[in-house]
């Protein structure tokens, strides 16, 4: 169990980038993001709602994403998130930083 917890801490540090990547392929709402993280990681990583919303609100405040309420009539309103040009740039930079860090870690570990 212990090693699983540590790897999830490592993943949590990249929540912003994970969310930005998902939004590159289209606008999404909260639960949709959680589901896709679970599916794309083949069930290995469960993004907690608390972690996700902290990240979404931060990304919005930094101007990396914007949000709007959907017009669903059934089952309550959904709030959708959409990536901005600045967000796309931040995603590209973070991805590059990660590739760089990965190369260093691969050589060191």
């Amino acid at each position: 169990m212990e090693h699983l917890r540590i790897s999830s801490d490592l993943l949590r540090g990249h929540t912003d980038t994970i969310i930005l990547k998902l939004l590159l392929t289209g606008d999404k709402y909260g639960y949709d993001i959680c589901k896709r993280v679970h599916a794309d990681s083949q069930g290995h990583y469960e993004l907690k709602e608390a972690t996700m919303y902290s990240s979404l609100k931060r990304l919005e405040q930094e101007g990396n994403i914007t949000s709007y309420w959907g017009d669903e009539t059934q089952g309550g309103r959904r709030k959708y998130y959409s990536i901005t040009a600045k967000g796309k740039q931040v995603h590209a930079e973070n991805k590059m930083n990660w590739e760089h860090a990965k190369r260093i870690l691969d050589a060191l570990i």
């Binding site: 907690k48 608390a50 902290s54 609100k57 309103r77 959904r78």
Partner: protein
């Protein structure tokens, strides 16, 4: 079961119902959790099981709330600072008497208000990091949307003093006496009230991480703190 989710969220968000940002977040979260609950039940989990799994999927809700309200507070302070005309950093206000003084939208970082009389004065949207308040009279003084990180309060008079939407994380109020004071919607993460005395004090905010060891308080203050889930294991009720 969906009603039970709503009740659960209402309870968690109760201290923040005046913040529109938090009301919206509650609505989003409720929508997500309902969908998750339905999915889990469709996948064969029992109602009870699905409910607990759904609640578990939220994670550390108090950390999220704290992060978001702290961001809101910071933003409001930055907006306020844009109008700032008075950069009063590290100023010496020792022993001044300014009843009804206005220190709004000011940068007061590191300023010293020791032995001052600030009755009825207001501090709105101000940067008050590391300010000093030794033996200050803060009767009915108002600190609204101000950042008081690293501020020092010693032997002050807190009679009807108001702290609203202000950042007081880590500040030490040990042994101080508060009468009719207000701490609503302020950040009290690791704020210390060890051995403090409270009479009719309002704490409509997250107090789970505030420290009340050895404090004494009246029944009303105690009841309010308890409803906001403060740690009151070492508190005397008078």
């Amino acid at each position: 079961m969906s009603g039970k989710l709503e009740t659960y969220l209402n309870e968690v968000f109760a201290p923040y119902e005046e913040l529109s940002q938090m009301r919206e977040l509650k609505e989003e979260l409720l929508h997500d959790l309902r969908e998750r609950l339905t999915d889990l039940q469709t996948n064969g989990h029992s109602e009870e099981e699905a409910f607990h799994m759904t609640i578990d999927s939220i994670g550390d809700i108090s950390e999220m709330v704290e992060n978001i309200t702290a961001q809101t507070r910071q933003l409001q302070q930055i907006v306020g600072m844009d109008f700032s005309k008075s950069n009063l950093q590290n100023s010496d206000f020792k022993e001044i008497a300014v009843h009804d003084g206005k220190f709004n939208y000011s940068n007061l970082q590191g300023s010293d208000f020791s032995f001052s009389d600030l009755t009825n004065s207001s501090f709105k949207c101000s940067n008050m990091e590391r300010t000093l308040f030794h033996c200050a009279n803060l009767t009915r003084a108002q600190f609204v949307k101000s950042d008081l990180k690293g501020a020092t309060f010693k032997d002050c008079l807190f009679d009807g003093t108001v702290f609203r939407f202000s950042e007081l994380g880590g500040v030490c109020f040990d042994g101080q006496r508060f009468v009719g004071a207000v701490f609503d919607y302020s950040g009290l993460r690791k704020t210390s009230f060890r051995g403090a005395h409270f009479l009719h004090v309002s704490f409509k905010t997250d107090v789970k991480k505030a420290i009340f060891d050895g404090a004494t308080m009246d029944k009303a203050t105690y009841a309010l703190l308890r409803s906001y889930k403060a740690d009151l294991s070492n508190v005397t009720v008078i």
